[in-house]
């Protein structure tokens, strides 16, 4: 895995850059045919900073410490590609939580709009990334994130506390 400096050097010396063609992200390197790539976070739940570019076969092409490691003109493309790939709703407010037959039904406001979901077995389906950062997985596998429990309003925190 390349470090930040190595990545920057690689970009500066070996990579002509990223572009978007017909809805696909394409990496052009001198002397090579342009290749389609996808952009991922190395650690999508615990640290959304390091970025990896994968080729069509899922092999690592390039690793960067963050979007700032990319040339300015390509930063926007990377940011947009990440935004399109990672659709993890962030819970902004908990309206209420009902418990029926051991299943917790959450009514929430997220950064992607209002939603309700069912949560079973919090011990298995709630990941505590830190003491205040949690990711919930509902009964069909959708994930919802609370990046900072303490940033929620008191009523929402109370609902979460009662439920979990």
């Amino acid at each position: 895995m390349a470090g930040m400096n190595e990545t920057a050097t690689k970009f500066a010396t070996e990579v002509r850059g990223l572009g978007r063609r017909n809805g696909r992200l394409v990496l052009e390197r001198p002397g090579e045919k342009p290749s389609e790539v996808t952009v991922r976070y190395l650690r999508p739940l615990t640290a959304r900073t390091e970025i990896v570019l994968l080729d069509h076969d899922g092999h690592e092409v390039l690793t960067a410490a963050g979007v700032d490691a990319f040339p300015p003109e390509e930063r926007l493309l990377v940011t947009e590609a990440l935004r399109s790939r990672y659709l993890l709703p962030v819970i902004r407010k908990v309206q209420r939580i009902d418990v029926r037959f051991g299943i917790r039904y959450w009514w929430v406001e997220t950064d992607r709009g209002p939603r309700w979901f069912a949560l079973r077995e919090p011990g298995k389906n709630v990941s505590w990334i830190t003491a205040t950062h949690l990711v919930l997985r509902d009964t069909v596998g959708n994930r919802f994130e609370i990046p900072d429990l303490l940033a929620l309003d008191p009523r929402s925190r109370r609902w979460v506390g009662l439920s979990l």
Binding site: G23, R24, R85, Y86, L88, T110, V140, N142
Partner: protein, 119 residues
């Protein structure tokens, strides 16, 4: 599961006049991944996709070379490929996986049928 879902009211104004789908699925995410009505229908040799925040997609199935489902982080995308271009027909959450898996198979069959007619 319904494979003949009506067009959501919020998207009715985008519906192309005269289009008669043989199969259609209502989605739950818009083009920006927000929880919002979306709709994909196919019939008469066309596939039409409607969602808030994006221009309607209206493709001839004869021009579609592949249909695929991309697994994203937290959602999936139904994609139609025409030549070198990808067209995202819909984003959908895991709640809608069964419906869109079925739709993808049907679209692929319809696409192959159109391709056979062309040959």
């Amino acid at each position: 599961m319904t494979l003949l879902a009506p067009v959501p009211d919020a998207l009715a104004s985008q519906y192309p006049p005269g289009f008669e789908p043989a199969v259609s699925v209502a989605g739950d995410l818009d083009a920006r991944g927000r929880f919002s009505p979306a709709w994909v229908g196919a019939g008469g040799g066309r596939v039409v996709a409607l969602a808030e925040g994006m221009d309607p997609v209206d493709l001839s199935l004869a021009a579609v070379t592949a249909i695929r489902v991309d697994e994203l982080f937290g959602a999936s995308a139904l994609v139609a490929v025409t030549g070198d271009a990808d067209h995202v027909l819909a984003l959908f959450s895991r709640n809608m996986v069964s419906e869109f898996a079925a739709l993808a198979r049907i679209l692929d069959d319809l696409r192959a049928e159109q391709s056979a007619w062309r040959e």
